[in-house]
């Protein structure tokens, strides 16, 4: 006799306000593959946990976004935000697509140069640029975005000694009606500091002013803020033109477009409340057309959004270690991927899907990582079907920041795999081993021996 399909026995208490399971329709559709490659096969081959990036999704995201802006404004250039994900394989995809590099430290600058990006295609942002880094950037003809007056005066000083003219833009901060205001980076618009910095650059014969830059925030939920930002940038550009007859090569609107991850404090899902990329493009480009010089002289629009281009191309495959009941009867599930490699779980409610079809009954659970640390919580409340020890799950939208902000803590950082457009998989960063971690350490001689 054919045996019946098993499903874990379950009982749910009705609480008004929590009972809503709307009949018995499955809540969680399984994510069993990434671009046609089986999740289980990837984990079997590369271990668990393992990060997976989709080449196809990265390229699609990039092309869609670029097209959206290009159909609204004639000159658009992307610069890949290295800090979002600076794995060589990732950067190279963006560079193949025509992106420049946007770096915020000497480390990132050196990475870009080493990858073969000529200085003139590197945008050098950030508040900390050492004299040595600045000299390199000036020599290479990189686009230096000045953050504060101390830096500007340092560059002026250097420019009097270097042969090449530093290519400068300034970063501008401003009130765009959003909260919190990002006024710690760059020169303020409202109090006239930005115009003063621009005047100083224009007046200095050893410097070349090429652009304006702003970056109004991160995970921005309002397209309107970009409209205001673009408007203020155009006011500066027009004033530069009227007062000093200076035309700009570009206006860099930075990044900050959100991905479809839902923030912890957010009641609705991200996809329900976030503006679309079209909304952002409309807001930015409609204002740029107010620039007082047109035609071929119009400044190029530079964009540096990172998160929205790569977050949904990244997945973390993880394996169930154990299920348990907490003292109040609530279900808890422990997985092998923790907050040490998934930094973004501190602020996102990451979507988690089982990697295989499951039964219909679901239960509200807390998801813990494997660390022996109380903070290692991936989701406080998530309704998931019953998962057995050894089952795999896929955590979605993890492509941004996790692979640059992850920590090596009590365990080793895992493999990162890329699913290529042709359906093959490539290891793009090998998991760490004990040798690699210990090789940087020096043990003082007097500490090298002990007897227990």
């Amino acid at each position: 006799m054919e045996k019946k399909i098993y499903e874990k026995p379950a009982i749910t208490k009705h609480h008004s306000g929590f009972m809503n399971k709307f009949g018995s329709s499955p809540v969680t559709t399984p994510k069993s593959e990434v671009d046609g490659v089986s999740v289980n096969a990837i984990a079997d081959q590369y271990g668990s946990p393992v990060f997976v990036l989709s080449e196809r999704r990265i390229r699609e995201n990039f092309r869609n976004t670029l097209r959206t802006f290009k159909t609204r404004y004639p000159k658009v250039q992307y610069a890949w935000s290295y800090k979002t994900n600076y794995l060589n394989a990732v950067c190279s995809i963006f560079h193949q697509e025509g992106s420049w590099a946007e770096v915020v430290s000497e480390f990132e600058y050196d990475r870009a140069r080493k990858l073969g990006i000529p200085g003139k295609y590197i945008i050098f942002n950030g508040p900390d640029k050492s004299e040595q880094a600045l000299l390199k950037a000036i020599e290479d003809g990189a686009k230096i975005h000045v953050d504060h007056f101390d830096e500007l005066y340092k560059i002026i000083e250097l420019s009097e000694k270097t042969e090449k003219k530093p290519q400068l833009a300034i970063r501008v901060n401003m009130d765009t009606g959003i909260y919190p205001k990002w006024d710690r980076f760059g020169f303020n618009y409202e109090n006239g500091e930005a115009m003063e910095a621009l005047r100083r650059i224009v007046m200095q014969p050893t410097l070349k002013l090429i652009g304006l830059h702003t970056h109004i925030g991160t995970y921005m939920m309002s397209a309107e803020a970009y409209r205001i930002a673009a408007r203020k940038m155009v006011v500066l550009a027009n004033e530069l033109f009227t007062k000093y007859e200076t035309k700009l090569d570009y206006i860099d609107m930075g990044g900050g477009f959100p991905s479809n991850n839902t923030l912890k404090g957010q009641y609705l899902q991200a996809e329900q409340v976030l503006p679309t990329i079209e909304d952002f493009a409309d807001a930015v480009t409609s204002e740029l057309f107010r620039i007082s010089y047109h035609g071929s002289d119009m400044p190029t629009l530079i964009l540096e959004s990172g998160r929205s281009l790569i977050d949904d191309a990244g997945f973390l495959i993880s394996t169930i270690i154990a299920n348990k009941r907490l003292s109040d009867g609530k279900k808890a599930t422990i997985m092998d991927g923790g907050v040490n490699i998934l930094f973004t779980s501190f602020w996102y409610k990451h979507k988690i899907s089982p990697a295989q079809p499951t039964g219909l009954s679901t239960e509200n659970s807390t998801i813990y990582g494997p660390l022996c640390m109380n903070i290692d919580v991936l989701r406080e409340d998530i309704v998931l079907p019953n998962l057995k020890v050894g089952d795999r799950v896929v955590i979605h939208h993890v492509g941004a920041y996790n692979m640059t902000q992850w920590m090596q803590f009590i365990t080793l950082r895992p493999n990162i795999v890329m699913v290529m457009e042709d359906g093959t998989t490539e290891l793009i960063r090998e998991s760490e081993d004990l040798e690699y971690i210990m090789s940087r350490e020096k043990l003082p001689a007097k500490l090298s021996e002990f007897k227990l």
């Binding site: 098993y6 499903e7 026995p9």
Partner: protein, 84 residues
């Protein structure tokens, strides 16, 4: 083996709806939950229930035992059964 005491006034409907007249609480059980609950009411002990389910369902004994223990703990947590 452990048998279970299920109060005689508890009845689970075909839909898996369970109303506790003494507390006013209501619950939903899934299909396997219904089967187990009914076996318990008939007086079956742990071994008999596990055997019956192994016979009927496509499942290994370890997984079933783990799930069964979890289910029993939840029933106890909700004061629906007592172990005899």
């Amino acid at each position: 083996m452990t048998a279970f005491a299920v109060p005689s006034n508890l009845a689970v409907s075909e839909n898996g709806f369970l109303f506790v007249p003494t507390s006013g609480e209501t619950f939903t059980l899934n299909k396997l939950g219904i089967s187990i609950f009914k076996l318990m009411q008939k007086g079956a002990d742990t071994e008999e229930i596990i055997d019956a389910l192994l016979e009927e369902y496509d499942i290994d004994k370890t997984t079933l035992e783990k799930d069964f223990t979890d289910f029993v703990n939840q029933l106890k947590h909700h004061n629906l059964i007592e172990e005899k």
